[in-house]
Every structure is written in C-alpha cells, then in structure tokens.
C-alpha cells in the first residue's frame, strides 16, 4: 500500500467538479484509492461520500492507494491533486 498526505490549496476545498474528475482518474487504475480527513474516509470514486468529507482549503488529507498498479496510480493522483486541488 502507498500512502501520502496532501494539503488542499483550492479555495472551495474538494468541490464537486474536481471530486468527480478525481473519481474518473482513479477508475483508470486497478488500485483502490481512499481519501481520509481526520477519522473519516471515503472511496475516491464515490463522489458524494468524498464531498461528504467536507474538505476545505488548508485541510490535510491522507491518500491511500492499494492494488497492483499502486505505484503508478499514486503518482497520477499526486499529479492530479497538484494540478486541480
């Protein structure tokens, strides 16, 4: 399993559109991606659950990637977050 932390820079936080695009990105990989904020976590492909975390600007989220292509997947997610959130 790969895991890393990321601080959200988008001023609205993890809002609907990037959350949806993140889900799409994750579906390109075989690995399972979960996003956690504090003690709450949500599957990255689950748009409503992900928004339900209420992640705001400045919050730190922990991204966990698990699966056969976790290495490549984690890199791709990291790049996606840097660019969009």
């Amino acid at each position: 399993m790969k895991s890393f932390d990321y601080v959200i820079k988008d001023e609205v936080g993890i809002h609907a559109r990037p959350a949806g695009l993140l889900g799409k990105k994750c579906k390109e990989f075989a690995s399972t991606v979960t996003i956690a904020k504090g003690d709450k976590e949500a599957g990255a492909t689950k748009l409503m659950a992900l928004m339900g975390l209420g992640v705001k600007c400045g919050d730190t989220v922990t991204v966990k990637v698990e699966g056969d292509d976790e290495e490549a997947c984690a890199e791709a997610i990291k790049a996606f977050l840097e660019e969009n959130l």
Binding site: V12, G13, H15, A16, R17, G20, G23, K24, G43, T45, K46, L47, M48, A49, M51, G52, G54, K56
Partner: protein, 544 residues
C-alpha cells in the same frame, strides 16, 4: 386564445414560453410493487434518459455560456453515476418493494440532508444539486418531463406566489416575466421585477394556474395587466408592435442620461436608486442614478443559511460603496420580520407580524446581530460616502438607544485602531404614523429622514400590504399620507436634516410636483424609474 387579467407591476411587454415554477419537493406517492426487477429496469432507463438530457444541456451551455458555467451539468451527470446514490435507490426498492419514484425521493432526502447539515456553505448548497438531479430522475420516471427546468431559453415564470427567498434564488438571466396567481403589488416578486426591468403581473387568479402548462406560448402585457395564452395572430402582431414602441420609448428616456434633475424654474432634486443586492449596481449606473437612497441589507440575510459574518457584510458594503465612487449610498440596517422571514433567526410565529418583532425591534432585542452589522458598515465607510438608515422607528427613546449603540461600536473600533469615516450620516425611516407625528423631536437626533411609503401607507390606512383583497381600499394618494410626509419634511428642514422618499410613491410621477413643493430633497426609486422621474422633474415649473 385565453386572456387572464391581473395587476401589472412594471410596464413592459414579454413574449415567450411559459415555465411553471415547481417547488423543490414535488410530492411522490409510495406504491407497493411486486416486480422488483422491472422497477430496477425503470430506474436504469430513467437514468439513461436523464443523462442524455443533461448531456444535451451541457453541450448547449458549453457553447453559450462557456465551460465554467456549464461545469455544473457535468457534475450532475457524475452525481447520477454515484455508487452510493444508486445503491441507496436499489436497496430501497429491494428491501421495501416500493416504486422507483419513491425510492429516488427518499434517497434524495437522505443525501440532501447530509449536505444541508454540513458546516460549510458551499457543501450545504450541494443539497440543491441532489434535489435537482433527483427531481429530473423522478420526472424521467414519470415521463412528464418537459426538460424546461434547466432550459436556457428565457421564460415567463408562472407561480401561485413566490416567497422572497424563492425569488432570490431564481436565475434572473432566464426570466422574461413573472406571472403569479396571488400576491400583491408590494410583494417581493413585484419589487424584484421592477428592479430587473421586466414585466410582472400579479393576482391573475387560481384558474390561470390550473390551466397553464410548461411550454405554453404567452404574451405578458405589464401595462394593462393582461396575459394572453396561445394568442391569435392579431393580438401577437398588436403586442409585438407595442413591445417595439415601448423599447423605442425607453431608449429615448436613456437620452436623459447625464442631464440634471432640475425643474424649468431651476429647482433641483436628487434622484437616487433603491437596490436589494450588489448585483443591481449595474442597473443603478446604467440608469444614471445620483446615488443609492436605499440598499436593502436584508438580502444578505435571506441568501444565507446562517447569520452573515462581519466579513461577508463588509465585502458587500465595500463593493457597493466602491462601485458608486463617492456618490452617496444609504444602507438600511436589517429589516426582516413581517413578510420577510429568515429560518435561522428562529422568530416566534406571530398573530400580527407586521406589528410584531421586526426590523429595528429585532436589532434592539438582539444587539449582537445589530453590532455585527454596524461594525461591517463602519469598516466599509472609508470606501465611499455612507449613510446608515434605521427602519421601523416609532419613538425618540429608540433613536437615542440606537445612537448610543452606534457610539459604542465606533468607540470599540477606535480602541482597536480600525479606521472608519467621520462623515457617515445617520438617518431613520419615516414609515410609521408615530414617527411622522413626532418628527419634530426625531429630526434633531439624525442627519436625514427617508419616508418608506409602503409601510407608512399600510400603517396609516390600516391596510395589510400582503393582502391582495385589500388593494381596492388602498388609496396611495390619501390625504393623510401626504400630510404626514409634509409634516416630516417641514420638521426635518427646521432642524437641518434632509428628507427623501424611498417607497414606491417616490416613483409615482403624478406626485413628483407635490413632493417638490413640499421641499423633498431626494427621491429614491427603482433604477428603471430614475430617468422617468427625471423626465417629469424637467417638465415641471413650480413658479406657476
């Protein structure tokens, strides 16, 4: 062709298709079913159809309003695909053996409640998106979709009546006209229509609502209060001509822009504009108003799900002051209660709200709310020429109390080294008979009076402004009202204060001469009436 009659509140003509205003929670009936597989198949089919609709809307929006504004429809499509949302619908159908519409409706409630309960306003607002996609899905299931809910065509909005919060949340870019079955000409729908320069007809009756459908073709004549549904060729031709003439006439009025508000014999008056939101500043500048005579701050409270913060308010006030670039801006402090209710204030239900805890009475009872607003106002005051106006005044002691609170807020700010302008003017609304009668005692305490003729009429004539049945009894030119205004004007001037009129009567050009003769210093009207009143002023000769 069917003709309906109501009361027009803004003279203009609209020709287009009807969209019947639907409340967010359409009633869905719970029906027991036996064939669960068939029900699940219905959901799949409806989902495919809803996605197709959204894709079409997205494509159209992309072309017309650009990617940023179209993105919401892409998000709606993503939401429709959400696993948790779909699992919930499926589980309800399977576990309870119920129809798909019911399962979608329950799922919609659960998910939207989850978002509504979040502590961030962005996420709270997503509750509306859940309801939106769910309603679309239910419409697809019931096969009664017209696709008009998210149409990009400008439409004539038809409704029974619209609450202030509902009017506020409508997408103004898509409204050609308003037609309501009930309501009175002082309702917020009416006021909003005047602000937006679009025709509105109110009180067309219940029959209208029963027969009107989405997509009906109609003409709205705001001059006569007539609505023609499915008009014949003659009517269409006649009204199209009338519409063109009206546009030409309004263009002519635009020629008055930049001219002074001066009578033939040289008497000048200020003509300012009334606005209800920062979005109306465009209309104020377009219509060449000399300032803002009434900025209704309660829209900040109505648009919010919780008390607006000092920062939020400060930003809004600052924006108005900056946009008006040194011209006078009179901001009225919170005026809710009566017809304008805000859920999170948790006000008690009152027998007679017009005479209840409203406006300044709320501010004096809950001073924390008042002080927050005052701080935001004073902080913003350095960005322009600010006047602060207090509504619903009935006594000298109230005004003294208000001034003490203002002094104390400013004293705190001085200690904290927060800058504010020294030239902020303080004024009160004259909208109760009491205030007009004791205006000699009130005038020395303030810089200005502003007459709120709507409430002054309601309280003087004992006529409820929300009750359309009373309209035949409302004589807005009643001698009693004019005498009260005159009394207030004389007393204001005796004590060096100025006096304006910010109610609907200010825009009544049959009274402009009367007001000028009384010595009224300022008339504040809906932006669209500024030039009309200027035209009237320039035609008058008071020496005759």
């Amino acid at each position: 062709m069917i003709t309906y009659n109501g009361k027009g509140v803004y003279g203009a003509i609209a020709i287009g298709h009807v969209s019947v205003y639907k409340r967010q929670d359409a009633a869905v009936t719970r029906i027991e079913i036996t064939d669960k597989e068939a029900e699940l198949k219905r959901v799949e089919d409806a989902k495919a159809k809803a996605t197709e609709q959204l894709q079409a809307i997205y494509d159209k929006a992309l072309k017309e309003v650009g990617e940023e504004n179209a993105a919401i429809f892409e998000v709606h499509m993503m939401m429709l695909e959400d696993d948790d949302y779909n699992d919930s619908i499926k589980n309800i159908i399977e576990a309870e053996s119920v129809n798909a519409e019911y399962a979608v409706s329950i799922t919609s409630d659960n998910f939207s409640e989850m978002f509504a309960a979040m502590d961030d306003s962005y996420f709270q607002a997503r509750a509306a998106d859940i309801k939106d996609i769910s309603n679309r899905l239910i419409a697809c299931l019931s096969n009664n979709d017209s696709g008009s809910t998210s149409s990009d065509e400008k439409v004539i909005i038809c409704a029974d009546d619209l609450a202030p919060s509902e009017t506020v949340s409508l997408d103004k870019e898509k409204v050609l006209a308003f037609v309501t079955a009930f309501g009175s000409s002082n309702s917020h729908t009416a006021i909003l229509a005047r602000n937006m320069n679009i025709p509105a007809i109110i009180g067309v009756g219940e029959e209208f609502l029963k027969s009107i459908k989405d997509g009906d073709f109609a003409i709205v004549d705001g001059f006569t209060g007539e609505v023609f549904v499915d008009p014949d060729e003659d009517t269409l031709a006649k009204l199209t001509k009338k519409q063109q003439d009206d546009i030409a006439k309004k263009k002519l009025l635009q020629d008055l822009k930049g001219k002074e508000n001066i009578t033939l014999d040289g008497k000048k008056i200020d003509i300012f504009a009334n606005i209800g939101s920062v979005d109306n500043i465009g209309a104020v500048l377009l219509n060449d108003a000399g300032g803002i005579g009434l900025f209704r701050s309660e829209f900040l409270y109505l648009e919010n799900d919780d008390y607006p913060t000092e920062e939020q308010q400060f930003e809004a006030y600052k924006k108005v002051l900056e946009s008006m670039a040194g011209k006078k801006v009179i901001i009225r402090t919170l005026d809710i209660g009566a017809d304008k209710q805000v859920g999170y204030f948790n006000l008690d239900k009152e027998e007679n709200p017009a005479m209840g805890i409203r406006a300044i009475r709320i501010c004096l009872t809950r001073q924390d709310i008042f002080r927050t607003q005052l701080r935001a106002l004073y902080r913003a005051s350095v960005y322009g020429h600010l006047g602060i106006m207090f509504p619903m005044i009935t006594s000298v002691s109230e005004v003294k109390k208000i001034m003490e609170i203002c002094d104390s807020v400013r004293a705190d700010m001085r200690v904290q080294d927060i800058p504010f302008a020294e030239n902020v003017e303080h004024g009160i609304m004259i909208e109760t008979p009491a205030a007009a009668i004791i205006s000699d005692q009130l005038a020395p305490l303030v810089n200005f009076f502003s007459v709120g003729t709507n409430d002054l009429t309601q309280y003087t004539l004992a006529c409820d402004r929300q009750n359309p049945k009373i309209e035949p009894f409302v004589d807005t030119h009643h001698e009693a009202i004019l005498r009260l205004i005159k009394m207030a004007a004389e007393n204001a001037h005796k004590h060096g204060a100025w006096i304006g009129i910010c109610g609907e009567l200010g825009a009544d050009t049959t009274l402009t001469e009367t007001f000028l003769r009384m010595g009224i210093d300022e008339l504040s009207v809906s932006p669209s009436f500024v030039l009309k009143v200027r035209d009237q002023v320039r035609k008058l000769d008071l020496s005759k």
